[in-house]
Symmetry: C2
Subunit: 154 residues, 2 copies
């Protein structure tokens, strides 16, 4: 089958009367409508994505997805997010080379969080650490190993 | 000293000139000011908390913390969250018995996500599943095991 379709008319722009994006009514995307219907998005139209390394179980980072990012993540094998700082789709690794190959994606019980299991190439964090949490412990009281009572936290 | 102070006037309402809570200026809490200064909160004053089981590495759930919930989590050994649906602090397990004993807490590179490692008593999910993601797979194309090209996703 030919991969080019010459003389196709350009896609029509969205009608001027179409509703602006608002909570609960995301813009049309290539996401499976059955999956889209299960999402409970923030007011920005996003769902949190917990990213876990498949081989080690380590939590690598927390990112955000809009419907289009989730559709790309589910169908292309490459973890794709919505960059809140840049305001654009962000296919992880396109700039850094630190690609994430998707192993599985699950949605949580109330539809507002995704668990994305990946094979990570290189460090996951833009600072160069392996995960975004490495070396950033807040020193919680560990009740399993501490002798102290609550309040004894140094 | 007497614990009653009869004839005290009722507490004055907040002065009209005091600033309402807004992003970056959370209400005073018992959280270590050095930690508080590192948080990058949502417009609701919250930070996402990824909750991971210490023993298995399984990601159990995603929850949210305000400064007070984080302070309690760091100092009491019991994972404590902000319930967005109920609008109140929520010490996990107080109603269900499904307590989370805190092993460690780390903050991510940009201050908007926490990784809370816990020992979980019973199922973590209010639906009764062990994690909030169990049995909720979205069927992503798995490039490591699939023969197909992107687009072959069933």
């Amino acid at each position: 089958m030919s991969t080019t379709t010459p003389a196709d008319p350009p896609a029509a722009p969205p009608a001027a009367t179409s509703a602006p994006s608002s909570p609960g009514t995301p813009p049309p995307s290539s996401l499976d409508p059955e999956v889209a219907a299960r999402l409970r998005r923030t007011s920005d139209g996003l769902v949190a994505a917990v990213v876990q390394e498949h081989g080690t179980g380590d939590v690598l980072m927390l990112a955000w997805m809009d419907d289009e990012a989730l559709a790309a993540t589910l169908t292309t094998g490459r973890a794709t997010y919505w960059s809140r700082s840049r305001g654009e789709l962000w296919r992880k690794g396109d700039t850094s080379g630190h690609v994430q190959h998707v192993r599985s994606v699950a949605l949580d019980c109330d539809g507002d969080a995704l668990l994305v299991r990946v094979d990570q190439v290189g460090p996951a964090c833009h600072t160069g650490t392996r995960t975004c949490f490495d070396g950033r412990d807040l020193g919680a009281l560990d009740v399993a190993t501490a002798d102290g009572e609550p309040g004894d936290h140094p």
